[in-house]
């Protein structure tokens, strides 16, 4: 069906979720009370702000991920031609992985892969 299928899928997803939410809006009778809209934290009132600063570890992993993800995108076209290119493909990928692995070791040495 071609690229038109993407439009179909997006419309189908929006229609499906929209109709499901609309039906539930029509069916139920909403009630209100003072405590209903409070965040659910196991019955204990929320302390302080919610949008707090988080452990830097998450961001470090995100940064390393970025490097490796770009590498992965480079590997896709390589993988398609690897078999037909023969030995040169293997030699190139060994060099590529060697440089990448050096970076990985550096990140490891700096403690970026250690939690906390």
């Amino acid at each position: 069906m071609g690229a038109a299928s993407l439009i179909v899928l997006i419309i189908a997803a929006i229609a499906f979720s929209g109709i499901a939410i609309l039906i539930s809006k029509f069916v139920l009778k909403p009630t209100t009370n003072k405590q209903k809209g409070e965040p659910y934290e196991c019955g204990i009132p929320t302390q302080g702000k919610t949008w707090i600063q988080l452990n830097v570890g998450y961001y470090l992993f995100a940064l390393i991920f970025l490097i490796f993800d770009v590498e992965l995108v480079f590997l896709y076209p390589w993988a398609v031609v690897a078999k037909s290119a023969g030995w040169i493909a293997l030699i190139e990928i060994v060099i590529f992985f060697f440089i990448l692995f050096m970076g990985f070791l550096y990140a490891h040495k700096k403690g970026a892969l250690k939690w906390m």
Partner: protein, 358 residues
Amino acid sequence: MWSFSNISDNIHDWLSANFNATWTLIIEMVIAGTLVIGLFAMLGLILVIMERKVSAWMQIRLGPNRVGPKGMLQSMADTIKLMVKEGMTPNGADKIMFNLAPFVAMIVAMLLLAPIAFAENFQLWDLNIGVLYITAVSSIMVISILMAGWASNNKYSLLGAMRSGAQIVSYELSAGLSILAIIVLTGSLQVSEIIESQRNGWWLFKGHIPAIIAFVIFIIAVTAETNRAPFDLAEAESELTAGFHTEYSGMKFALFFLAEYVNVFIVCGLGATIFLGGWMPLHIGNWTGFNNAMDYIPSSLWFFGKTFFLIFVIMWFRWSFPRLRIDQLLNLEWKYLLPISMVNLLLVTLMAIMGWHF
């Protein structure tokens, strides 16, 4: 033969005989949309009941057995219950983001269906970078989770979303590398060509040990990517209530739930396509009689059988392994799976160049 591709061809011929090109396309789009929505709803219902029945079976109990024959209509009843629940927005929440997040999750789950080959020649869009498309689109999923967690104004949600973000992006790498191992052997990213290359045997068997390593890594990585136990840190019930969807209720919660199950189906479908030959029947060497017998089983049954087998394996994991801690989880990926899959990719390349595979 009575097959999906014949039916779709017949419909296409009939439509183009009776309408002009534009109307044919529009009617086909409507039919495709309806089918996809139907598939979505069916998948949700089936996978939820399957999950509960499998867990019951693993724990030697009965599971749901009241609604319908052997409790098979339980998920239908659950859907109706969720429909009459109020999908409320908490007071402090970022209202637009909070309500948009389930839509994003659904759109991503739906878009992933496009290149999946459900049966022989039965596929919405056989684009030439099908596998890359799936890996690219499935990583948008993390945005919907972060949106939901951030907008909820709840610390549990925020923590769950952050964990989930770190986890999904990490495991994407080894999933991608293990897929690449097979792409090296096939030399194509097109789903139909990958399946066609497995006509004389599935890659899991043809690729010797590297393919098996890649398959194991793939299954572990997709289990983590879809936030399933033992990697369900994002919604660890015992510590974070429900993780990123703590504040969601009613139909909005149901949409997240459905998107999650459809994602499980899609990654298992991708695994079945790449490693287990998609809709290709099981053929063994030159056992002609056996091969002919296997050919009689329709291709759609093969695809769904393999996919549901992989889903069963993932459900099996849930009851076999305890939940990991976040640092253990990241260690597993960065210190074990990623180096192993990189070395494995080199091995596969060597194998492909030397022609050691069948």
